[in-house]
């Protein structure tokens, strides 16, 4: 079950011609796929297109009605490989994943696909995770389009443009027999807006029908001599065909006055940011009419030479607005100008920073800087000579703490890392690698565990150099998502085959949790359309791991710690795998909370656990926080003149996972934690018993109150 349900929104995917769709970018993309007569869709989740996968999963009934096949692929590579269906068959297919990491994983399949060429339109929708909020290394998917020669669309970030790009993408793909990549940036995926719908189309040939008439064409197989012909075909036929299509269908757009001394060349995705900067300079109006000519590249690869030179003609200077590096577009355009001996001066990086996101401020400074140099007469007076200096503000850089993401309240991964930290306190520091996924938050305070991450499913593999003995065994972490994505073969198989004497801990939270709680092979939830319930430990045994420990309650910090210690100290010299399983708390709460609420309403007995801290027993050392970091475990400043330091406190968001009690016990911290189970609808006997207990306890308390002074404090 995914973190977010789109059950309600997918109803809008049924809208037809004459109706208006209102909603998020990812839903608009899905609608556009259906309107394009797509035959099959698939992909692998990951921000920012996780929700696109969730939308597709939630729309399975509708997809079924339209005879569209949906596959939740095992990885981006598997998703890209699925596009093979469009190689021989005239069926449109689309897959989606995260860029640039998804493109890395998929590059083998993408390169083969691009070499073969396609018959039906093949669309790869990439959520470009770049800039603020990004969780990955900062690179561009653009390079993959260039190296394998498939086409890259980067539409203007509004719903009508994105929807149009999906449709044009399929057509471009078919016109040039080349797969097309449609890039949507992180904010475009969640941008809200409206567009005019068309009717959904059934695929002219469904994948089901295709099976009754299998086709093959040796010319499309990537083997010599065909592969040599593929390369020539790309350059001699497919590329020119694409250029023709782009030009004739007007995929790129020109805005602003016909003639002007300067102009901007803009990636489609940068268009809105550029217009905002121009608006602020008084050079564009609220609806985007511009005083400066703009050449908007909705297709950023290939660049169409004739089109660009026509735009450049008669201008003195151009500014390329291209986010990220290397500046492929700028280089390409510069080469075109150079080869034709054009006098037009080309600006880009330099006025803009080479690295990093083009934020509002950077866009404003870059464009204003360009115009100051090249066409100052266009700029309003206060930009050239600002009359008032900006106000002085107090420096808060020492005050405001950084707030990186971390484990959620009640997260079952926290006790695993608390246990690891305790083991390290005993045995010393270890060489530890992480993988991709929620567990990577352990690299941050308070745990600070794990020093590298080499890729999804590659945690244990990235410790391969360290399994030849030494003072202490190397440890690696891998999540269940990474395990099934690539880890079973690349990491675990690698350990077994090379007789690795190291330890790997599989963090199994029943979902691909970091990407939004999608099911994976080992998920324990029943999924109506997917086969779940395949234990990781069985897969480990199957691939030849002899030393496997399955832990079914990670919150048992003591047991967790003892198991890790055993793995690190045992005489066994083969790979040691610990599968630490407990359900992702975010998903568990989403699943259980409504059931619990209903049970309470129905008058059934329900225990609701929550933890608390006795403030007068807590000494304010915060050792518990250094072994937990739970958001619900915070501090409170006591109204007590005798106390200098704030004490621990647990707020009402506590879900009663028990980690703090377990940690206090395992690490022998302090006795201030208690668990309070509020019992809803207790039975008659239970109430009677509680009454007796309460009377005896009250009597004992009264007895003591007669013996010693009681000040009745409540802290």
């Amino acid at each position: 079950m995914a973190e977010r349900s789109f059950k309600r929104e997918v109803q809008d995917l049924k809208l037809g011609a004459g109706e208006t769709f209102t909603g998020e970018g990812i839903l608009a993309i899905t609608k556009a796929l259906l309107e394009s007569g797509v035959g099959y869709v698939g992909g692998y989740q990951g921000a920012p297109i996780s929700h696109l996968m969730d939308v597709l999963a939630d729309a399975q009934d509708l997809l079924g009605e339209l005879d569209v096949r949906f596959e939740a692929n095992a990885s981006e590579a598997a998703a890209a490989a699925m596009l093979a269906a469009s190689v021989h068959y005239p069926i449109r297919g689309a897959v989606t994943f995260k860029g640039a990491v998804g493109v890395n994983v998929a590059s083998d399949a993408l390169a083969n696909l691009a070499s073969s060429g396609v018959t039906g339109g093949a669309l790869v929708i990439v959520g470009e995770d770049y800039g603020e909020g990004s969780s990955i290394m900062q690179e561009r998917s653009h390079a993959f389009a260039m190296k394998s020669q498939f086409w890259l669309l980067d539409p203007r970030p509004n719903l009508p443009s994105i929807v149009q790009a999906v449709k044009q993408g399929f057509e471009l793909s078919e016109a040039s027999n080349t797969p097309v990549m449609l890039m949507v940036r992180i904010r475009s995926c969640h941008v809200t807006g409206q567009f005019a719908c068309a009717d959904n189309q059934r695929p002219p040939l469904s994948v089901r029908d295709a099976l009754s008439e299998p086709r093959r064409d040796f010319a499309r197989v990537v083997l010599p001599p065909m592969s040599y012909q593929h390369e020539r075909d790309k350059v001699e036929n497919r590329w020119p065909a694409a250029e023709r299509f782009i030009t004739e269908r007007g995929l790129n757009e020109v805005f602003g006055p016909e003639s002007a001394p300067v102009g901007l060349v803009v990636q489609g995705g940068m268009y809105n940011g550029v217009i905002r900067a121009l608006q602020r300079l008084g050079l564009a109006d609220i609806e985007g009419r511009s005083a400066i000519p703009l050449y908007v590249l909705n297709v950023t690869y290939p660049l169409v030479k004739d089109e660009f030179l026509a735009f450049a003609k008669g201008k003195e200077a151009l500014l390329v607005v291209e986010e990220g590096q290397p500046e492929f577009i700028e280089q390409g355009l510069a080469a075109m100008l150079h080869r034709t001996g054009s006098p037009v001066r080309l600006h880009g990086k330099g006025l803009f920073p080479m690295a990093g996101e083009y934020t509002g401020q950077i866009m404003l400074e870059g464009i204003a800087g360009f115009l100051k140099d090249t066409a100052p007469q266009l700029l309003p007076g206060q930009v050239i000579a600002p009359n008032a200096p900006p106000p002085e503000l107090p420096d808060l850089s020492q005050t405001v703490p950084i707030r990186p993401p971390g484990f959620c309240t009640g997260c079952p991964e926290r006790p695993i890392f608390a246990a690891m930290k305790l083991v390290e306190q005993e045995l010393g520091k270890h060489q530890i690698t992480g993988d991709i996924g929620c567990h990577l938050f352990a690299a941050l305070p308070p745990f600070e565990i794990g020093g590298s991450t080499m890729g999804y499913g590659l945690g244990p593999a990235s410790n391969a150099a360290f399994d030849g003995g030494g003072a202490r065994r190397a440890v690696s972490f891998i999540g269940d998502g990474g395990f099934w994505h690539n880890g079973l073969s690349s990491s675990v198989g690698n350990m077994v085959f090379n007789r690795s004497d190291s330890v790997a801990i599989v963090v199994d939270n029943y979902y691909s949790a970091a990407t939004g709680g999608q099911d994976v092979l080992s998920s324990r939830a029943k999924n109506p359309s997917k086969a779940t319930g395949n234990p990781i430990s069985k897969a480990l045994e199957g691939v030849g791991v002899k030393w496997v420990r399955q832990i079914d309650r990670t919150y048992d910090v003591g047991h967790m710690r003892d198991t890790i210690r055993e793995a690190l100290t045992t005489d066994y010299d083969g790979p040691k795998l610990i599968v630490a399983s407990s359900e992702c708390m975010l998903n568990r709460q989403r699943r259980e909370k409504p059931l619990r609420t209903q049970a309470i309403r129905d008058g059934r007995r329900v225990e609701a656990p929550r933890f608390g801290v006795d403030a007068d027993i807590c000494t304010g050392d915060h050792a518990c926080i250094r072994l937990s970091g739970c958001p619900s475990l915070s501090l409170t400043v006591l109204d007590d003149p005798l106390r200098d330091d704030p004490v621990a406190s647990i707020d009402q968001t506590c879900v009663g996972c028990g980690n703090c009690g377990e940690v206090a016990d395992a690490a022998v911290l302090c006795p201030s934690f208690y668990r309070a189970d509020l019992v809803h609808n207790p039975g008659r006997w239970e109430r009677l018993l509680a009454g007796w207990r309460s009377r005896i306890i009250t009597w004992l308390q009264a007895r003591r109150a007669r013996q010693v002074l009681d000040f009745g404090e409540v802290s």
């Binding site: 969780s135 904010r187 757009e253 703490p401």
Partner: protein, 514 residues
């Protein structure tokens, strides 16, 4: 390429100024998405073109998150919106937490020419603030002060508390505050309709909305956490009560400036042991007062009143058991967990006694011999050292704690008491000695008691830090800046668990002192 008919002539000023730009800065999990959805719905219902964007992904997991909304002016059907906020170009900034308001100011999203800043005054502490062994909480008043300068209008209240009091979440009270600020040209009814149409938890959301609405208009006071019982209710045997009264009278003979602290300290040690112990406390205090300097506002006695009380009421098993068996505690837990009369309550304590705790409960002589014997300590560990879950709502569990708490009368004969007493005496002797040459140093030495806290390993670590700082004090004694160095050493000791900062500070001290 498609040629668009879209030329204009330069206007000389910001043409997008008419677009309302609104930023929500929140902590992941606060419902920033819900709030953004409501704002968008209000604007759309009013016939405005509107766009919302967010950065999802891992940032949702308790990290800082940002949502952005642009609302076009009336009559503009298809504006070009920006997808991200820009510094100096924000009309309304909603900060769902005080440090997020600070972050917004730092990023330039709050400017005095135009930004209405609506902030919740509550704090959601970042991990870096919480994990410091001392007090690492960032100063919210610095942000408040900056907000007054940075914003055109600054509206704030504890929106979290307002919402929780209505059984809702902060997104609702912030939405109410936005409506109440009048920064958007839509009626209160239009805002409320957005909540109603969202269909989930409507009544609670509307109540929190109203609270937020009124809070920014200054109409209501934010409810305080829990009104503290000001009047002290002392109960107990008559003899003890009269002894207590006598002790209070004795406090009256102390300098007025320190009486409040002395009373608090006295109550703590008497609650810890008995009135005789209170007498001992006052004896210590009077000895310090006698060597104090009235010109210095009795700073020495003031610090002594605080830290001697803390030292004398050390955290032993008896005290823990005593606190956990008090009637007031159970009432507090019931109130905190929101128990109603029909509901049951089970309370489980997490205790983990070790040989150290058991042996320190033995009579001083025997205890010392046991602690010296590895064999006996191992034996005690075998018998006792394991995590114990005690159900203190059951008679059997309660009785275990109750009996332990009953050892109070015997406490003064325990090994732990002897150790604490010796430590106290040695410490006070040092303070007294230091006082003769350097008043400020003596005050700082008293304050070092703050380093000793926690249980088991944590306590041991605190003790060793205390010893290290004391050793450092020896090195600087006699210097004019000795007190300042001791303060610095103590603050360093409170910065991190392992004592890295302290180690560094000590190296510095050694570099000039040796």
């Amino acid at each position: 390429m498609t040629l668009m008919d879209s030329a204009m002539t330069p206007q000389g000023g910001d043409s997008a100024r008419a677009i309302t730009k609104l930023v929500v800065m929140a902590v992941g999990g606060q419902g920033g998405g819900v709030l953004t959805g409501w704002i968008e719905a209000v604007a759309r219902a009013a016939g405005r073109a509107v766009q919302a964007t967010s950065v999802a992904g891992v940032a949702q997991r308790t990290g800082a998150t940002i949502y952005y909304v642009e609302i076009a002016p009336e009559g503009v059907a298809v504006p070009v919106f920006s997808l991200a906020p820009a510094a100096g170009d924000v009309d309304i900034l909603i900060a769902a937490e005080m440090m997020e308001a600070g972050r917004a100011i730092q990023r330039g999203f709050v400017t005095p020419d135009r930004t209405v800043l609506i902030a919740s005054e509550h704090r959601a502490l970042a991990v870096s603030e919480k994990m410091v062994p001392g007090n690492g909480i960032a100063q919210a008043d610095e942000v408040m002060a900056a907000a007054e300068i940075a914003a055109l209008r600054f509206l704030s209240a504890d929106m979290e508390r307002l919402a929780v009091a209505k059984g809702s979440v902060i997104s609702a009270s912030l939405f109410g505050a936005l409506a109440g600020s009048g920064a958007l040209p839509f009626s209160r009814e239009a805002f409320e309709a957005a909540i109603r149409n969202s269909g989930k938890g409507v009544e609670a959301s509307l109540a929190a909305f109203a609270a937020g609405f009124e809070a920014v208009q200054g109409a209501v006071q934010v409810p305080q956490a829990e009104p503290l019982e000001a009047a002290l209710q002392v109960s107990g045997p008559a003899a003890a009560l009269s002894d207590w009264a006598a002790l209070l009278n004795r406090v009256e003979t102390l300098p007025e400036l320190i009486r409040d602290m002395a009373r608090a300290g006295l109550q703590k040690v008497v609650a810890f042991q008995d009135c005789a112990y209170g007498t001992a406390y006052l004896d210590h205090l009077e000895r310090i007062a006698a060597i104090d300097d009235p010109v210095r506002d009795h700073a020495l006695t003031h610090e002594a009143a605080k830290h001697i009380a803390n030292a004398m009421s050390y955290d032993d098993v008896i005290r823990v058991a005593d606190r956990k068996t008090r009637a007031a505690r159970r009432e507090r837990i019931d109130a905190e967990m929101g128990r109603s009369a029909e509901q049951g309550m089970q309370v489980t304590e997490f205790l983990h006694p070790r040989a150290e705790e058991i042996s320190s409960l033995l009579p001083a002589g025997l205890g010392a011999r046991v602690q010296a014997s590895a064999l006996w300590m191992a034996r005690l560990d075998r018998w006792f050292n394991r995590g114990r879950r005690i159900r203190s709502d059951r008679v059997s569990g309660f009785l275990q704690l109750y009996l332990l708490a009953g050892l109070r009368g015997y406490r003064r004969r325990t090994l732990r008491h002897a150790q604490e007493q010796a430590h106290l005496d040695a410490w006070l002797e040092r303070v007294t000695e230091a006082r003769q040459a350097d008043y400020d140093l003596a005050v700082e030495l008293l304050r070092c008691r703050r380093l000793i806290k926690g249980y088991s390993d944590t306590h041991a670590r605190g003790l060793s830090k205390f010893d290290l700082v004391m050793a450092g004090a020896d090195l600087v004694a006699g210097r004019a800046d000795a007190a300042d160095w001791v303060r610095r050493l103590r603050e360093a000791a409170l910065q991190d668990e392992e004592g890295k900062a302290l180690e560094g500070a000590l190296r510095t001290v050694r570099s000039f002192a040796e």
